[in-house]
């Protein structure tokens, strides 16, 4: 597993100083920051109204769920656009430059290569998400108690969703030398999965359920509200494993081709 660790470090390191890395980090923080501000303003407006007119049920609305929940939910959608940029280089670039040949001749199993690649992507996702936790601290400074459980559930959901996106991206990156193509295919796939969510609403009967079941966004919805459903967790984990092994098989293909 030492080899996977070395690959993780190398990929993470070169991500941090690539223009893609800077761009992704910058746009995530910018757009995420705008989201957060909007939700915070929305909450304060709502609570002012509530104070004036005493709506029923509003007093139960927690700041964590309302602001952080909405923020994490929208981060997931934002990440749909950024995940292809993170994952496109992973294997495709090593293929194009030819460094994959080196990796193949190191004392490494194919599994270690793909695992190192995937964990590097997850580390990049964590780097992206880390500043977000500052928003939690910010809310805490504003006064009310932060609901740790809800926050944790949201973060868990976000990582499961992001992990699924990145596994899909890693798979496409393993199939081509062209990182732009890998990014486009990943993006189209994620877009299709997103569309499943609302297509499902238009369909009758059983088909609605089937389509909904395929959309990661449907499975993600409850996490930011503080609900961890094991069916959802199982969905994400099997999706990650499925695409991880597709990527691994693609890397292994050279062993039995010809």
């Amino acid at each position: 597993m030492k080899g996977a660790w070395a690959i993780l470090k190398k990929d993470f390191f070169s991500f941090c100083r690539s223009w893609v890395g800077v761009f992704v980090l910058f746009s995530y923080l910018l757009v995420g920051g705008i989201f957060f501000t909007l939700f915070l303003l929305g909450y304060s407006q709502l609570s002012l109204q509530a104070a004036g007119q005493s709506y029923e049920g509003v007093e139960g609305l927690s700041l964590t769920t309302f602001v952080m929940g909405a923020f994490i939910l929208n981060s997931g959608i934002l990440f749909l656009f950024l995940a292809p940029l993170l994952s496109m280089r992973s294997l495709a670039e090593e293929k194009r430059v030819g460094t994959l040949e080196l990796l193949y001749t190191y004392p490494l199993s194919d599994f270690e290569i793909v695992l190192g690649k995937y964990l590097a992507l997850m580390a990049e996702l964590a780097l992206l998400f880390l500043p977000t936790l500052l928003y939690g601290v910010l809310i805490r400074l504003l006064g009310p108690r932060v609901d740790g459980g809800v926050l944790f559930s949201g973060v868990l959901g976000f990582f499961l969703l992001g992990g699924t996106f990145l596994a899909i991206g890693l798979f496409y990156s393993s199939t081509t030398e062209n990182q732009i193509l890998a990014a486009i295919l990943t993006f189209l796939t994620l877009l299709a999965l997103w569309i499943f969510e609302w297509v499902a609403g238009l369909l009758p009967g059983v088909w609605a359920g089937r389509f909904q079941g395929l959309s990661p966004f449907v499975h993600f919805r409850d996490f930011p509200l503080g609900i961890v459903d094991l069916t959802d967790v199982a969905f994400f984990i099997s999706a990650i494993l499925f695409f991880f092994f597709l990527a691994l098989r693609t890397v292994e293909v050279r062993n039995w081709k010809g």
Binding site: K2, V97, T99, E101, T105, Y106, P107, R254, N255, G258
Partner: protein, 316 residues
């Protein structure tokens, strides 16, 4: 030390290697010689574990490559034909990454890298980005990289390809130095390179080993088989004696006559081109000279290509 048994490799329907078998002894410097497309890189890639052979077996001191690839790869250092590097890494960063992945313990990593950079003469460029190095330095970095973790076996694919003559001499010197302590396999399409560096040579052509032995023996053995084909016109059927008298001609054989044309096959001595002398004699005897060619066997065909490509390199 290394044994290759009946190794074949198919790329789809095309067979790139045909049942190759050979042994490499410990400490030996073995050259793989052959024109472009002979299957050298394919064979080396199999030896390094890049991909497995379609049929056959490779073992290193009894360790089967197919069964324990990691164990075997740890003992092999490989310099690919075009060393690919991460262009945004500095030389020492790249070597550090490779040392870690090759399993050099973290305490020894620093000194290991220093030692190999020193040996290959890249200490002066350690802070440079790998993507900006000249071809000569890149090749040296590649060599330093292949030496990390002190492999028992070093495999170099066309190590001097694309270098200028000065760099070629330097790299050859370095290779000779490395070959003193290690088992070394190197491929080249340049004939004189093997005689300068290697103790033993395998000649590959179209995926088969067509000859093997010490470079001196091979060269001698080849030239002894040199033949010259000669065609003479009208009345030239009595030239046997004249031709046989030319110094260097070992035997003259008269072949079928077609109308007025007579063909001869002459066996000649090594290292001599007798074509000028033969043509002079034929013309002096007063017969029309129609054709004069060196007839080569398949092995010599290979050599011709090799010699030509060396000339191309030198004239560049």
């Amino acid at each position: 030390m290394i044994s290759v048994e009946n190794v074949s490799k198919d790329y789809g329907a095309r067979r790139a290697l045909h049942e190759i078998s050979f042994e490499v002894l410990k400490g030996e410097v073995l050259g793989l010689l052959g024109p472009n497309g002979a299957g050298k890189t394919t064979l080396l890639r199999i030896l390094t574990g890049f991909f497995p052979p379609t049929f056959g077996r490779v073992t290193l001191e009894g360790i089967d490559l197919a069964k324990e690839p990691k164990k075997l790869k740890r003992r092999i250092g490989y310099l690919p034909e075009r060393i690919a590097v991460y262009p945004d890494f500095r030389v020492e960063e790249f070597l550090k990454f490779a040392a870690e992945i090759k399993g050099v313990p973290s305490k020894e990593r620093e000194s290991e890298i220093e030692e190999k950079m020193e040996l290959c003469g890249v200490t002066s460029v350690r802070k440079r980005l790998v993507g900006q190095l000249s071809k000569g330095f890149l090749q040296r970095v590649g060599l330093a990289h292949s030496l990390l973790a002190n492999p028992d076996v070093l495999i170099l694919d066309e190590p001097t390809n694309g270098l200028d003559p000065k760099q070629i001499i330097e790299i050859r010197e370095l290779i000779r130095k490395l070959g003193r302590e290690r088992t070394l396999i190197l491929s080249t399409h340049i004939l004189p390179e093997v005689s300068k560096v290697c103790e033993r040579v395998l000649i590959l052509n179209q995926g088969r080993i067509i000859a093997q032995g010490r470079p001196e023996d091979l060269e001698r053995g080849l030239v002894e088989r040199q033949e010259i084909l000669l065609r003479v016109g009208q009345g030239g059927d009595s030239l046997e004696k004249v031709l046989g008298a030319i110094p260097g001609v070992r035997s003259v054989e008269k072949h079928a006559q077609e109308a007025s044309v007579t063909s001869y096959v002459l066996q000649t001595l090594p290292h001599e081109d007798l074509r000028a002398e033969i043509s002079k004699q034929v013309v002096k005897s007063g017969f029309p000279l129609l054709e004069l060619t060196t007839k080569r066997l398949s092995l010599e065909d290979v050599f011709l290509k090799l010699v030509l490509s060396e000339e191309a390199v030198e004239s560049r």
